[in-house]
Structure formats: C-alpha cells, structure tokens
C-alpha cells in the first residue's frame, strides 16, 4: 500500500503525532493508501512555513510574468503525473474513470488560463484619472497586492480539481497556501504537492496537510497568521468558519451547498431536457454542489417528461468507477451512503412518489462498494425536506408547475442560490426566467458547464465570493490606494487649513484652454473655427430674446452649411430640464458641435449639453466636480453680454428644482473650445443689461482677488478687468454704440472669467446665487448689490488686495492706510453703480425682507463661500450682510 506524507515547507514529513489513517476505495471498500494524519501542531507548522515564505518575498514579490512561468512549470509537472492522478482520483473519490481521466487536463488548463490572466489581464495597478475630490489634487492610483497566507479547504467530490481551484488563484496572485484536503479523499492533493516540489515552487508556498476538519479547522480559521480562508464545503461548516474568522477579520470565501432548480419549460426539446436533467442530477452520483436536484417540470409536458426520464435513468449503468463502461460509480463513503438512504426514507415518509431507484445496487464482485441507484421522486412539493435539503446523492425531486411565475417562485423558495438551469426552445423566455432566479449561475439548455474565465459561486446561503475568472483572482488580492500630493506644501493644502489660522491657498495651477478671438468682425472666424475642431454639424443654442434680436441668425449665416439647426428655448435661469431638452434636440439632429449665442444662461446650458451629448443620460448625471476624462462635444461660444465670462470658464451653473438651489458642473473640459468676442453682439445690449452684466464681471474680478485661491496670474487678469470696467462701463452706458467701449467690456468680462475660473469667487456669489434661485433676481444685478457689502466684510483679511482694487478703479490711495484704501474700493464700486444706474438695494429687485434669514441659511451652504477670503461660519454674518444690502 502506498504511503503519503504531509507536505510542509517543501518537505514530505510524518505527522508530529505519528498518526496515520487509511483511505478507502468506495467502489471496493478496500483501503488503498496510508496517509499521515495532521494534527494541531502540523497545522501550526504549515501556517508558519506559509507565513515565512510569504514574508520572505521570493514568491509574493516575484514579477507576475515570472510567477506565471513557475505556475506553468507546476502545470507541466501535473501533466507528467496525469495518469497517476486520474487513476488515484478515480480510486480514491469514486469518480468514474471517463470523468477522472479529464481531471488532470482541466486542472492544467485552469492553471495555465488563470496564470496567463493574472499576468496579462489583471489590473495590478490602476490609475484613477479623476479622484472625485476637487480639494486635494494629486496622482491617484491603486495597487492590488497579495493577501498573504491563504487556507484552502477542499471537499471530497472533486479533490484534485477543487484543490487546483484554491491553489491556482492563491499562487498566481502572490499568496502562499495551506491546503487541507478532505480526509476521505486526500491522495491527489498529496500528488499535487509532489508536482509542486518538482516544479521548483519555493518551499512553504504550498503546504498540504490531510487531517480531520474538526481538529484542524479551528487552528486554520483562527490563527492570526492566516489572512484568508477559502472553503468549498457545507453551509454549516461555512457558517462556523465565518464566525471563527471574524475574530481576526480574515477574508473568507465560501462555496457552499445548493438545491438548484432545473426548470423544464413546455417548449423545451424534451429529449435534450431529459438528458440535461439526468446529467444535471446523476452525474458523479449527484455528488456535485451545483446539481439540479429540484426538477421543475411544466404541467403540460409533465407526464411525458417523467416517463422519458424514468426510462433514461434506468439505462444508467452503475458500476465500479475504474470500469470504463460505468456511467455512475459509488457514493464516496458509507456515511454518505447512509445519508442518502435516510433522505430517501424521509421522502417516502413525506408522501413523495418513488418513480425509480431508492435502493442500493449490487455490483458483481464489489460487495463492499457503496453503490446506489439513480432515484426519482415525483409528486414533490417544495416544502418537503427532500426539496429543501441537499442530499448529495443520485436523488432528484420532480415538482410540477403551471406558469413561468410559479416556476420562479418555487425556484427562489430555497435558502440556497448556487446554480440552476432552464430548458426551453425560446431563448428570450429562458433568459427572462434566468434573470429572475436568485442564483449565481444559470445554464440555459445545458448543465454543469464550468469554464475557467466564468465566475462560479453562490447567492444567499450558497456562499460568498467566486471561484474562476478574474473575479476569483480579485478575491485573492487587496487594494491599496496611493495618493501623491500635487503640491506638497502646508499652505496649499485646504484640508490642513481646517486646523490652521492660515487660510490662504498659496501655489496654483493655471490653465486657460479656450481660444479667444476678439475684435470688430471676429464672427467670421467661426467658419474656420468649426473646421479646425473637425466638426460638420453645428447646433446653435440661444434664447428667445437673442433670437428675436436677430443675433442668432447672424451666427447661423456665418456658419453657412455647417449649421444644422437652432434651439432657441433656453430660459433666463437655466435649469436641468432646459439642458435635457436642448440635448435631445442635438441628439435628434446628430449635432457634433454646439454654438452658444447668448449670455451666461445660454453658454452654461451649452456646456451642460456638450457633456450630456457626449456621455449620454441626463444633465442630472453630471453635476460633479472634476470627473471628466475626455474632451467633450466641441463648443464655440459667442457671448451677447459682457458679464459672466462663461465663454472661458470651467463651470456651468444650473438650477436644480429638486435640490432647490443652483448646482454646478465644474471641469476644465467644459471650457468652450473657442470664444468669439465680436462687439456686433453687444452693441444693442440694453442699458440695464449692460450695467448688470458688467457688475457680474466686476464681482468675478474682485472676488478672484480676495479668494483664498487667488494667485499672481489671476490677480493681473482681475485688476485689468476691474480697470477696463471702471473706465468703459460709463462710456457704454452713455453711448451704447461705442464699439471700443463694448470691446473693452467684452475683454474685461473674459479676463474676469479667466481670473475666477482658477481663483474662484466667494461670499458675494454665494449670496447672489441664493437670491437668484429663490427670488429670480438676475445674477449680475444680485452680484452688484451685494458686492460692496462683502468687500467691506472682507477688509479684515483682504485689505491689501482691495487696496489694489481701489487703485484700479481710479482711487488715489497714495496717502491712505491699507484698510482705508480697501474700504475706498467698496465705495468706488458703489459710486460706479450709482453713476451707471445699477439697482442699489435688494428691495428694489423684489426680494422680501422676511426671507433674508432663509436666504442666509441657503447661502452659507453655497460652494462659492468656501473660498471667501474671510472664513464664513455663522449664518448671522450673512443675515447682517443681506440686511445691509436690503
């Protein structure tokens, strides 16, 4: 008789206790080998060896392609042992030889397929192009790393194959492993150990310790040096392993029991279904966890099907597993045979009708073998124990059903959810059923098909995690996210500033991707711009007022044949619905370019359209900060106001009625590709709009200077914008046709836009957004009224910058203190507003006084407030400012 030892740390050793046990051929009842019986000490030694091997790094830090090569060497050694493995598996586990002979081949294929996938397809490192955190820029990526020491607990039904299921992903992903094969079928795991040794797998990477689960299980599942336990076994054992593993928070994957429903619909090919049902139940004597042991047969074909299945089952030849003629071999052990018999007895007691089988089979010359006939119970209802509990033998329960819905209800009425099948001549019908059965695998017109790249595992109490496929490889790794700060200085870290009195963000990243074309006749450049963008189908977006003024048609004509349509329904206060409507129009016309003609509302809507058109779905899907990873649908902006600067900014402000406030899309990729500043489009702008939009631009510029994100480049842009507005707004108000003044105001708005898109805005904008959303006050007007109040509020922290603003507005600050100069800036803004006839008070634009407190609570939550130069935490401060502006 052969003797097999434990395999620990690269050596074949006896058990510390010296104990051995015999393994029995279930077909003959005779012992075939003696095996060392591992005990607690051996388990601890194996774990220690695996731990050392992992920590040493030779295996865990081996380059993945080198590890693949070693696993391939291992597979080659398994091939060398192929015949021995097949014969041993057949004798030890009772697998019919026509199955066992394939086991080495599919094991080798599994090893080669998964090692190749691990080396060439698995995302060991994965870049995260957008982090989802706008306030902590940096490189973000994840590394997937091995877990450490894994334990693989293998059952007796497929001892070699399932050992390979555990060993392969563990090794491919850089782990080490301790394998505990089932005590009734330990031999092929021991031979795999020999193959590993011959292949030069480093010592300790694989360890094999046959021994009783009850004794070894506790050590393997509670030892602090074990990182993961992978079990294929019973639900009861799996439950206990989870409980034990919880103590040291081990990763656990469990492939447990099943009572899978094989559903035979009335349009099935009956002969195919009968074969599929027999194979699904009686293959390997029913000792397969995914067996379709609840056979649900539709009533219309029930009698015919049952008759055929009885006849087919009775043709199955039960015999010694090494006899190539046998279709079914023995049950693995006397205990398991007794269990099967007990359940058959229960089935009879429960009132099920025994159609065939239900008895042992005498195989000539094998009086001690554990042979049992294929057994079919009919008239089973799903509440019977034989329908709810896994028997793990050649016993099937046939349940009749009428409708597809009833079949689904029966199929899902189980604590298990491992696998299942549908037989039908209608793929669509079968798919509908498959989609609704709560189980981890569904086979349509087939059964028991396992494939190396297709995940296998259970729902509900059938387990956790998956074997096979990339999904399985993931189960043997853990994720490390690495963040590398882009600007490693405490004064550029907005998070660190939460516990600091220093609130200014020093250091900046400046990007201005928009091409600006400015001047008299600039509109004509649009004809070249669209070609340079590679586009052919431009949709013009505008609002009814701009359309009525004839300005949109100017652009349409300038585009000539490139213009495929016009959407002119954008409201003054753009909302998500407007974006969705315009996007739908763009989709219908198959637009590849959006041309916005209008003020900030139109341009912001266009930005939303460009994102939604490119990425699908609705505008509400994209209200995010810095998440886009590709260029969006090209956008050419033709502003008809000189205010928002939206033609160059990376933000779109849109009202969400569901949220009750304005929300934003913020991303450099939504900055328009081209901005055309042609004074033709602002010469006719009414005085009130000229004034309010200019104050919007003024607010952008001033707040960019006092923002915590202000920087030298944006300060320069902002100061020039402030100077241009201060000098040219009165001129444009006096003579709307002053083209030079108009051009200067356009450029000022654009420069202010560049300034704030990097440096951000502040409290004035937060307050203006709120009264805009709640009381429909035009944005520019709201900004203008609130700005001077906020400037005075910010003097405490931003006097230096506000003094420069005063200078840009023409105030002689030479002999002033910095604080006085800062206050003078606010005065100068108010003086400008009065000069040009801008509304001075919130009451003048319809804001009710009794709503100021509510406005304050909304405003403090506005994103813009985060960047205000003076920190804002108390809504009472904002109430005061609203009151001053009221």
């Amino acid at each position: 008789m052969d003797n097999y030892k434990l395999f620990i740390d690269g050596k074949f050793v006896d058990a510390k206790s010296g104990k051995t046990f015999q393994t029995i051929d279930p077909g003959t009842g005779a012992p075939i080998a003696s095996v060392a019986q591992a005990g607690k000490e051996d388990a601890e030694a194996a774990i220690a060896a695996a731990r050392r091997a992992f920590d040493k790094g030779e295996w865990s830090r081996m380059p993945v392609k080198a590890r693949m090569a070693k696993v391939q060497d291992f597979a080659d050694q398994v091939a060398q042992q192929g015949l021995r493995l097949a014969a041993t598996e057949s004798m030890d586990a009772g697998q019919i030889i026509s199955l066992a002979k394939f086991m080495p081949l599919i094991s080798i294929t599994h090893m080669r397929n998964l090692s190749l996938a691990a080396a060439t397809k698995f995302p060991w490192e994965e870049e995260i192009p957008v982090s989802g955190n706008a306030f902590a820029p940096g490189r973000e990526f994840i590394r997937r790393e091995p877990l450490g020491v894994c334990v693989g607990i293998v059952p007796w039904n497929y001892p070699m194959y399932i050992a390979v299921w555990k060993i392969t992903p563990a090794l491919c992903m850089g782990n080490t492993i301790v394998i505990k094969p089932a005590s009734v079928t330990p031999l092929t795991a021991c031979i795999l150990a020999e193959a590993a040794k011959a292949a030069g797998i480093p010592d300790g990477v694989i360890n094999v310790i046959p021994g009783p689960g009850g004794e070894l299980g506790k050590v393997l599942c509670t030892h602090p040096d074990v990182d993961k336990v992978a079990l294929t076994g019973s639900t009861e054992v799996g439950r206990e392993i989870m409980r034990m593993a919880a103590g040291t928070v081990k990763k656990v994957s469990l492939e447990l029991g099943g009572k899978s429903a094989n559903i035979i619909l009335d349009d099935a090919d009956i002969d195919l279904a009968v074969e599929g049902a027999c194979f699904g139940t009686f293959f390997h004597q029913g000792q397969v966890c995914s067996s379709g042991t609840r056979l649900l047969v539709q009533s219309r074909i029930y009698d015919q099907f049952l008759d055929k299945m009885k006849k087919r089952a009775e043709l199955l030849r039960v015999g010694y597993q090494m006899d190539a003629r046998s279709h079914m071999g023995p049950i693995v052990s006397k205990e398991q045979l007794a269990t099967v018999e007990r359940y058959v007895k229960i089935g009879r007691e429960e009132g099920a009708e025994l159609i065939t089988g239900g008895k042992r089979v005498d195989v000539p010359g094998m009086p001690e073998g554990n042979y049992y006939a294929p057994t079919i119970f009919a008239r089973v209802n799903n509440r019977m124990r034989i329908a709810q509990e896994e028997i793990f033998g050649p016993v099937v329960s046939v349940i009749k059903f009428d409708s597809d819905e009833e079949a689904l209800a029966i199929a899902n009425d189980s604590i298990y959810g491992l696998a299942g099948g549908v037989f039908s001549g209608n793929n669509a019908r079968a798919q509908r059923i498959a989609n609704q059965v709560r189980t981890g695998t569904m086979w349509i017109n087939n059964y028991h098909i396992f494939s190396d790249f297709c995940p296998f595992g259970g729902y509900k109490q059938s387990g956790i995690g998956r074997d096979f496929g990339l999904e399985c490889l993931h189960e043997y790794t853990q994720i490390k996210r690495i963040h590398v700060n882009s600007m490693a200085h405490n004064h550029t870290n907005m998070y660190f500033q939460l516990i600091s009195d220093y609130k200014k963000v020093d250091g900046f990243t400046y990007s201005a991707p928009t091409t600006v074309v400015s001047g008299h006749g600039a509109l004509s450049s649009i004809y070249k711009a669209i070609v340079d963008l590679g586009c052919k189908r431009a949709l013009v977006l505008t609002d009814p007022g701009v359309k009525a003024a004839g300005l949109a048609d100017l652009v349409k004509n300038a585009l000539a044949d490139f213009c495929i349509g016009m959407f002119d329904k954008i409201p003054a206060d753009p909302d998500l619905e407007a974006v969705d409507a315009a996007t739908e129009a763009a989709r219908e016309l198959k637009a590849d370019c959006i041309v916005s003609v209008g003020g900030g509302s139109v341009m912001d809507t266009a930005k939303g359209v460009c994102v939604t058109l490119k990425n699908g779905g609705k505008a509400n899907d994209y209200l995010n900060f810095l998440v886009l990873t590709e260029p969006q649908t090209p956008h050419i902006a033709v502003p008809t106001t000189s205010g928002t600067g939206s033609e160059v900014t990376s933000v779109a402000v849109l009202t969400s009625h569901a949220a009750g406030r304005k929300l934003f899309i913020v991303d450099p990729r939504i900055s328009p590709n081209v901005a055309i500043l042609d004074p033709l489009f602002t010469l006719g702008l009414p005085k009130a709009l000229t004034v309010s939009t200019a104050m919007d631009a003024m607010t952008h510029a001033v707040e960019a200077m006092t923002s915590t994100m202000s920087n030298l480049i944006c300060d320069g842009m902002a100061l020039q914008a402030i100077r241009l507005i201060g000098e040219n707004l009165p001129l444009a108000v006096e003579d709307g046709k002053n083209e030079k003044a108009r051009i200067n105001l356009q450029v000022a708005a654009t420069m202010a836009g560049w300034a704030f898109t990097t440096a951000q805005v502040g409290l004035a904008h937060g307050m203006a957004h709120t009264i805009g959303a709640l009381h429909h006050v035009p944005h520019g007007a709201a900004c203008g009224i609130i700005l001077p109040k906020v400037m005075r509020y910010n003097v405490e922290t931003s006097a230096d910058k506000l003094a420069l603003v005063a200078h840009a507005l023409g105030v002689n600050i030479k002999d002033m203190s910095e604080k006085d100069a800062a206050l003078a800036a606010a005065d100068a803004v108010e003086a400008l507003m009065q000069k040009v006839g801008h509304p001075m008070r919130l009451r003048d634009v319809g804001v009710p006084e009794d709503n100021l407190a509510i406005c304050a609570f909304h405003a403090i939550a506005d994103t813009a407030v985060i960047f205000n130069g003076r920190p804002v935490s108390d809504p009472n401060d904002i109430i005061q400012l609203y009151t001053q502006a009221y």
């Binding site: 059952p155 007796w156 039904n157 089932a182 005590s183 009734v184 009783p212 689960g213 009850g214 299980g217 506790k218 294929t232 076994g233 019973s234 639900t235 009861e236 054992v237 799996g238 439950r239 206990e240 409980r243 034990m244 919880a246 103590g247 492939e255 447990l256 029991g257 099943g258 000792q287 966890c289 006397k334 205990e335 398991q336 007794a338 269990t339 018999e341 007990r342 359940y343 007895k345 007691e349 509990e389 896994e390 028997i391 793990f392 298990y416 109490q461 059938s462």
Partner: protein, 109 residues
C-alpha cells in the same frame, strides 16, 4: 443501551428552548445534509415513527432512526457558547464526517 448523552447545562438549555416554543414533541437527532459534502447530525422536533429508537433523558424525549443509530453509535449533545453565538454541538461514537464537533446547530421546530 444509551442513545444520547447530555450534561446538565445542555438539558437546561434544551428544556428552555422547547418551553419557549411551547413544544412538547420529542427531539429527533437526525442526519442532516447542509450542502456540498459532509453530512452532520441535527436536531428537530418530530413525532415518533415505527423505525425509531427512543430514550428519555432527564425529562426530555429523544428519538433517532434505527439505521441512523447503527451508523453513529451513542450521540453526545453539548450546549456551547462561542464567540458569535450559542448552539448545540453534536458528536457521536462513530463520526458521520470529519467535521463532527466543529460547528454548532440549533433545534428546528
């Protein structure tokens, strides 16, 4: 011939569980199969059948199928407390699987 063996604590726990459920039926010790290899012994309340062996133990009635008892020999039931819960651990003179004694079970009513 004893079918079953329990300690005093286990008797108390079982009596309490049965009382809470208002159950007066005997407790059956049966082979149960809980999925993918390895049967185990389980507990449920049930009526006596012709093929059963019965035993009174400290006021509790236990039943086991004759064939099952031939497989197991004398059965020991222990009520245990482990991290994560309490339950019954069932072992037998002749173990029905290598995992005997590893996991806990409860009475199925």
């Amino acid at each position: 011939m004893h079918i079953v063996n329990l300690d005093a604590g286990t008797v108390r726990a079982m009596r309490s569980a049965l009382s809470q459920r208002g159950s007066i039926q005997p407790v059956r010790i049966d082979l149960r199969f809980n999925g993918c290899c390895d049967a185990s012994l389980g507990l449920c309340t049930d009526a006596v059948n012709d093929d059963d062996l019965t035993e009174e133990f400290d006021g509790l009635t236990f039943i086991v199928d004759r064939e099952t008892f031939r497989l197991t020999g004398e059965i020991t039931i222990s009520y245990v407390s482990r991290e994560g819960g309490d339950g019954y651990v069932i072992t037998s003179d002749k173990a029905v699987s290598e995992w005997e004694g590893f996991s806990m079970t409860d009475i199925i009513f």
